[in-house]
Symmetry: C2
Subunit: 352 residues, 2 copies
């Protein structure tokens, strides 16, 4: 049987890189005319053909991106979608959105529905239930079928795909260090349960900042909230938990909260307990939205640059979708990127 | 040619209603055994068959609802989707969302993409550009192809479909009357341009309240904002416009704003101008979200019950999708409902 001619073989034979062969076949001006002619002549002589099945699959493009987010009543996810739309529109792609409502089965259902010919690839953030179950078969199957996924914010390391994450640990560490440098000695944290990886990382950042600054760690100052991050009309349980912590530990002079709603609820409870902000209690939130900007006093926050997260996720996905087929099929190594978007501490009135 | 036997003919022949015939054929216990047997015997004798083409079209169900909204970074639309999801999940439907970004062409594109076999029907709110252009062909074509639409909030009367709206006029009238009854004599409004029908209706409610209460109407107290309702990081233009109005008209003692962001911006500018709320200036917003609840002072608002709007829209759509085929095809009149969800004035600290 005649050996199949591949880009790799041509590259080896002519002693150039695979990328040079690929570009020469596309007649890219990046490559010298001499090399281009040599590669093209060689490919023609050996009757080189790109893999046709892959091509025909590839050509059935919908030019649509499927986005799966855990919640919609959530400024962070809305802003990420805003960023995704921004890049998608620029590059001629449409976006459709499905919600998992933090449920594993809805996440699976939405992915099956959209993967069925409607879209070219996914951008998604994993639901809490999926993170808790640690069942990732639907992601792996989707990728195995040749449909790329880009994960953002809530990602899972073991899955082979591009990821866009926030430096949750460093961002939180910076926030707690700001509280320490502003004179706080007893800093509490209001965070999520540990199975939410971003919550766990933010808690780690808090602990690290205390340790490095030789501050004692006190378990009763770590409040892990049962509830979801959902913006809910009924916040009473959260309010009670925070009130209980502030009353039982009157020495608390700083609170780091891992999202806006927790931070605003801390400020509300503090007002009720006649604690002045920032004189008696300094507060920093994570994720910087309209709530932080419009709070009174305005809230010092760790900004995640949600729009930028969406933009980068869309760029990574579209770049992958538009990889030339013969380049992709013959690359020895599939390289996946994990891009870290740096956070920024935005100082406002809730800290000194 | 033999006359085609229809439900209507059977009904006429047996002197019962079409609905009785339909239910008898489904062997519904609602109908007396005698009538059921008579109808079934008659139908069998004349070899009655439901319209097969309609049936086969109907049976190709995706059990998915397509939702098109103008913006995602917007608490009202997020809450509507929350309501749609709530009912859809209960009744075994999935939801996918597309964004028009207030653009006519994106609205058309999204509808074409989703109508192409992915969904059974649409729930949507019309983009500003479409309202301005008054080009509604894409809605009418979709309906003509047998795909039902339910419109909410921003609707167009001429389109034959179910609608869920808010009593914008009455809600605004109530808000302005509240300001009058709390002692305001010079009430301003911050509203949208008139082509946004909900903005126009809210402006009408404001004018009506002033007229009925024999208050003078002053054009310089009506600020029609150029910008979209988008929650934008850059609000400076809006702030400048409001500041200009409040400085040029120092007698203003009450402001009605047609959305939360406008209302919060009014409060921000008032703070800057050292006007106390509610002592010097009372403020009421329209649409009641986390911003109103968390503002300082908390904001008196007209609640639109966004979640309920979504729930009713989903119920209307699913009810129509699940109409029995032979019932539907033979109904003489297609009846469409316009359901009005009543607003509610929620009084907080920004009014006396």
């Amino acid at each position: 049987m005649k050996k199949k001619i591949t880009l790799k073989l041509i590259a080896k034979e002519l002693n150039v890189s695979i990328s040079t062969v690929s570009k020469s076949l596309k007649n890219s001006k990046e490559i010298s005319e001499e090399t281009r002619e040599k590669v093209q002549a060689f490919a023609k002589f050996y009757n080189y053909k790109p893999n046709n099945i892959a091509l025909s699959l590839k050509n059935k493009k919908t030019k649509t991106i499927g986005v799966i987010i855990p919640e919609i009543v959530h400024y962070f996810f809305s802003k990420v979608i805003f960023g995704i739309e921004h890049i998608a529109n620029q590059r001629g792609y449409n976006v459709i959105i499905g919600l998992s409502n933090e449920s594993f089965s809805k996440e699976v259902l939405n992915m099956e529905m959209l993967a069925n010919g409607s879209i070219d690839g996914f951008i998604l953030s994993i639901s809490k239930e999926t993170l808790e179950k640690r069942d990732f078969h639907h992601f792996n199957e989707t990728i195995a079928q040749g449909m790329p996924i880009v994960m953002f914010d809530r990602v899972e390391d073991s899955i082979k795909c591009d990821k866009v994450i926030v430096d949750d640990l460093l961002g939180s560490k910076k926030a707690v260090e700001k509280l320490i440098n502003s004179g706080c000695n007893h800093i509490a944290i209001v965070t999520t349960k540990d199975f939410v990886n971003v919550g766990a990382l933010r808690t780690k950042g808090y602990i690290l900042a205390l340790e490095e600054n030789k501050k004692a760690l006190n378990d009763s100052l770590i409040l892990k909230v049962e509830d979801s991050e959902l913006i809910d009309d009924n916040l009473t349980q959260l309010e009670q938990d925070i009130e209980h912590m502030l009353i039982s530990n009157p020495e608390i002079d700083g609170v780091f909260a891992v999202n806006e709603i927790y931070a605003l609820t801390v400020m509300k409870v503090a007002r009720k307990l006649k604690k002045r902000i920032p004189e008696d209690l300094q507060v920093i939130g994570f994720s910087d939205g309209v709530l932080s900007q419009n709070a009174v006093p305005t809230l010092t926050s760790v900004s995640q640059h949600a729009q930028k997260i969406g933009e980068r996720a869309a760029e990574l996905l579209i770049n992958r979708l538009e990889l030339e087929d013969y380049e992709e099929e013959e690359m020895e190594l599939e390289r996946y990127e994990t891009e870290v978007i740096e956070t920024e501490l935005i100082e406002r009135e809730s800290t000194k």
